[in-house]
């Protein structure tokens, strides 16, 4: 195989690398300002407890928001090898870079663990909050499952698996850049199946641990799938945004074609629908059966002053992107698709906020605004990590044997 290409065209723009420290600083500053905003929340009873609650919840929501892109990227990579996909070869490296950011992102989870061992129950009430311990259900969960030690062990196990799987696949991919050996693809195809099974289990339980246990009383078996569907949707939006930005900076121009954007647009559309399906399934079952221990989670969200925000999820996360992305012309138009993807990135943040923030307290302007700033800050840090990981790595797996297929296919009809 002898594809002639210009090495510079598949590297990250130098201007980006130059701006990385600025981006990081902006992100950090926004994060801090956002946290500070939590303290503007009306304090009840004269203490800062609600502020700490807002702050920790906001941090977790924003962390999961950016982390879900990388986690979904790992799934995407595994899936591409499992299905022996050819179309995605030219965009796969970008997803691989997202995937290899998991170790960096893992560092961002450390504050949560530190907070647990600090003895704070602001985020996870099961961590010895006297009020929660009065509840016999939570108390019995907190005997061995929801304890800070076991929680940490599980978290480390998830991260270990994700990091090992991701970095192994990335290493093989990089080796192929040098050798072009098809055997390297075969190995990945062979192991994608077992890894994806472990992934499903780990993602499901991570969702239960990190997000569902915020409300330790509540349980929903579909919760892992819910987080997965939203994450995949966010991932495709992120892929579209990154690819477009790279192309606008003059990189990977010929390698990522309108067909790829069209396909990613279809996946984006598909996962908007899949998320709606999962979210609806969860809601309708709990709404219909009307069992108090389940409905409480929705009561907090749909009644009181979170109601407006939560009902906003329907237009923001479903109606608008669904109607917008329905047309083939929009999916094939670069600026419109970019607009759609940015909207979906916002919708995913909105969803993470919906999952986490109502447990912190009532909807107040300042903490929510701070949470939004924090989200942007977290995205900036995420961007810095991407630039860092992408430096010195070709943005396309140029010697992947399936690259010609990715370059020559065309979307039929839809």
């Amino acid at each position: 195989m002898n594809l002639n290409y210009d090495k510079a065209s598949i590297e990250i723009p130098d201007s980006w690398r130059a701006k990385a420290p600025i981006l990081f600083s902006v992100g950090l500053i926004l994060l801090v300002i956002g946290m500070a905003c939590s303290f503007l929340a009306p304090a009840t009873g004269g203490d800062n407890a609600p502020a700490i609650r807002y702050l920790t919840h906001s941090y977790l929501a924003n962390f999961v928001y950016v982390f879900s892109f990388s986690l979904a990227a790992l799934f995407f990579i595994l899936m591409q090898f499992l299905t022996r996909a050819g179309w995605s070869t030219s965009i796969r490296r970008i997803a691989e870079i997202l995937m290899t950011m998991i170790p960096y992102l893992a560092i961002l989870f450390v504050p949560v663990l530190v907070m647990l061992f600090w003895g704070s129950s602001a985020l996870y009430g099961w961590n010895a909050s006297a009020k929660d311990m009065e509840n016999s259900v939570i108390a019995s969960k907190a005997t061995f499952f929801l304890t800070k030690e076991f929680f940490t062990i599980r978290t480390i196990a998830y991260f270990t698996f994700w990091i090992l799987a991701g970095s192994w696949f990335f290493r093989l991919s990089r080796q192929q850049d040098e050798s072009g050996d098809t055997e390297l693809s075969m190995i990945r195809q062979k192991w994608a199946g077992p890894l994806i099974m472990i992934f499903a289990l780990s993602m499901s339980f991570a969702a239960f641990d990190w997000l569902m246990s915020i409300d330790a009383d509540w349980y929903s078996t579909i919760f892992g799938v819910y987080l997965f569907s939203g994450s995949m949707m966010g991932f495709f939006a992120m892929m579209i945004v990154i690819s477009m930005l790279l192309q606008n900076a003059g990189k990977v121009q010929k390698l990522i074609t309108v067909e790829h954007f069209h396909d990613m647009g279809k996946f984006l559309f598909g996962f908007v629908m899949f998320w709606s399906y999962i979210a609806f399934s969860q809601l309708v079952l709990i709404w219909y059966a009307n069992i108090p221990e389940e409905t409480n989670w929705y009561r907090v969200r749909l009644e009181g002053n979170w109601g407006l925000f939560s009902y906003g999820l329907i237009p923001v996360h479903f109606v608008i992107p669904f109607l917008f992305l329905m047309s083939r012309h929009i999916r094939r138009s670069r600026p419109l698709l970019l607009a759609g993807a940015i909207w979906v990135l916002f919708a995913h943040w909105y969803d993470m906020t919906f999952l986490v923030m109502p447990n912190a307290g009532s909807a107040e302007f300042f903490p929510l605004f701070g949470h939004f700033l924090g989200g942007i800050g977290m995205l900036c840090i995420f961007g810095t990590m991407f630039i860092q990981r992408a430096s010195g790595v070709p943005l396309v797996a140029m010697r992947d044997p399936r690259l010609p297929e990715a370059m020559s296919y065309a979307n039929p009809i839809l």
Binding site: S136, M197, A200, K266, A289, E293, P401, P404, S408, I413
Partner: protein, 478 residues
């Protein structure tokens, strides 16, 4: 060329290996457009093999028995079944969910795999769609006769009745079922028929007798193969696929709502919708494998329905089987995590209560047996996959049995516990539905195009084009 291709011993060719960069051929032998036509058309044009007559004899007798039993049931009432307090939803709903689940494979293969550009679907989609329709027919029978007064089953539909002056209850999942299964059956039928139109035209153009020519001519609506028609046809087909894909998901989702909107422990859990859908795909693919393995041998279609097709289906069986296993595990975990004593008891009761045998049959067949497909040897051996697919079918029937019966027989009130025993009629009426299913499938093989010729040719054209059009990087397998 056609004769060479047809006589070629397909067992020699293993096209399941897919070296990256070189796509393995989807169909084996040196095929041309004409040889594909010949191979598919001879299924209906040649006299049927003896096996067909024997199988049809048995299955039609079974079907007649089933229909007579339905008549008997209508005359005597549903009391002939074993449905009794506290298990009023017994085999009829188990059989209904079983058949509806099987019905998922066809439209999934034709719609979802179409949207994912999985070209291997073309050889198997027609037979799977036919299987879908026949399975929906079998499924629809059970709620129809379970309503008691089966001749008034049309009351389920919202029609402005002059006698009743009332409307159906739209907040009941059972009514959603009417809409979901009804929509699914009719849209699948349209999808199936629309896909057949070009192939029916081929049958028409090859017919020797004027009567045959006229019948196929009417069925294919005078199809000419005009490019203007093709263009709208493909657009409509794609749109139908785009609608059918979420429809497939919705049908078993609604079926799962039948259980999950209630408060019965073991029924009410939020993972039910995706879990039921995964189970449905699982059982549907198993049934497709069960049917296609003998089908391709009987009609010597091994060059069109190759090991690669079967291998891919087995992989999907493995994937969905594992998903179902994951759902079982999640349910079990959540039963503990919820700290709800009723949930906890229900799951304990499933595994170690009076129905332990059903539970462990289910786990063995559904979770353990598909794991054998990790081995390539078993994935590509027709005998092995036939046996495993039958195991999966059994397991999926037991899954519905376990969900329905164990939860109902022991729910919140120990004083109302019971043990369900089926009657002879339960067994015969389940067995009889296979008669209907297999009879219809055999008639389909006899009279209608069993493989989507035009789609297989389209894929052949693309692969030929790719082989000739580029510098050979793709390889030239054909």
């Amino acid at each position: 060329m056609a004769t060479i291709a047809s006589n070629f011993n397909p067992r020699e060719i293993d096209n399941t290996d897919d070296i990256p960069g070189r796509r393995a051929p989807l169909i084996t032998g040196d095929q041309s457009y004409n040889s594909i036509t010949e191979m598919v058309c001879r299924v209906a044009e040649n006299p049927q093999p003896m096996v067909w007559y024997i199988a049809f004899g048995f299955s039609s007798l079974t079907a007649v028995m089933f229909l007579s039993l339905i008549g008997f049931l209508i005359l005597k009432g549903v009391g002939i079944w074993g449905n009794m307090n506290p298990v009023f939803w017994a085999w009829p709903i188990v059989n209904f969910v079983f058949w509806v689940g099987i019905a998922h494979a066809g439209t999934l293969i034709s719609a979802i795999l179409f949207l994912f550009r999985q070209n291997w679907r073309t050889s198997i989609n027609r037979a799977s769609e036919a299987m879908t329709i026949f399975a929906v027919v079998c499924a629809g029978i059970y709620p129809g006769i379970h309503v008691g007064r089966a001749w008034l089953a049309f009351w389920l539909l919202p029609y402005p009745s002059l006698n009743l002056w009332m409307w159906p209850q739209f907040r009941s999942p059972l009514l959603w079922d009417v809409f979901a299964v009804g929509t699914y059956a009719s849209v699948s039928l349209v999808f199936w028929y629309m896909g057949m139109i070009p192939d029916l035209a081929t049958y028409r153009d090859r017919s020797k007798s004027p009567l045959r020519r006229m019948i196929y001519g009417i069925l294919c609506l005078g199809w000419t193969g005009s490019s203007r028609h093709w263009m709208r046809y493909e657009k409509a087909y794609t749109l139908l696929a785009a609608f059918a894909a979420p429809l497939v998901l919705s049908v078993h989702t609604v079926v799962s709502f039948d259980f999950a909107v209630s408060q019965v422990a073991g029924w009410h859990t939020t993972i039910f919708p995706p879990y039921f859908v995964a189970g449905a795909i699982f059982s549907g693919f198993a049934m497709v494998v069960t049917l296609l393995v003998p089908f391709r041998t009987l009609y010597k279609l091994e060059n069109l329905i190759t090991l690669r097709h079967l291998d891919n289906m087995n992989k999907i069986i493995l994937a969905t089987g594992s998903l179902v296993g994951l759902a079982y595990a999640t349910e079990f975990f959540m039963a503990w995590y919820s700290q709800n004593p009723y949930e906890y008891f229900t799951f304990f009761n499933r595994a170690f209560g009076p129905y332990w045998w059903a539970y462990w049959t289910m786990v063995t067949c559904n979770v353990i047996s598909p794991q054998l497909f990790w081995f390539r040897k078993l994935r590509t051996s027709p005998y092995a996959m036939f046996v495993i697919s039958i195991f999966v079918n059994i397991g999926m029937w037991f899954e519905r049995f376990v969900i329905t019966i164990t939860s109902l027989s022991r729910d919140f009130l120990p004083s109302s516990w019971g043990y369900f025993r089926p009657t002879m009629f339960d067994g015969l009426m389940f067995f009889g539905s296979f008669g209907i299913f297999i009879s219809l499938f055999l008639l389909f093989c006899r009279f209608l195009p069993t493989i989507a010729m035009s789609e297989v040719k389209g894929i052949l054209s693309i692969t030929n084009h790719a082989a000739h059009g580029h510098d050979g990087a793709h390889g030239n397998e054909h």
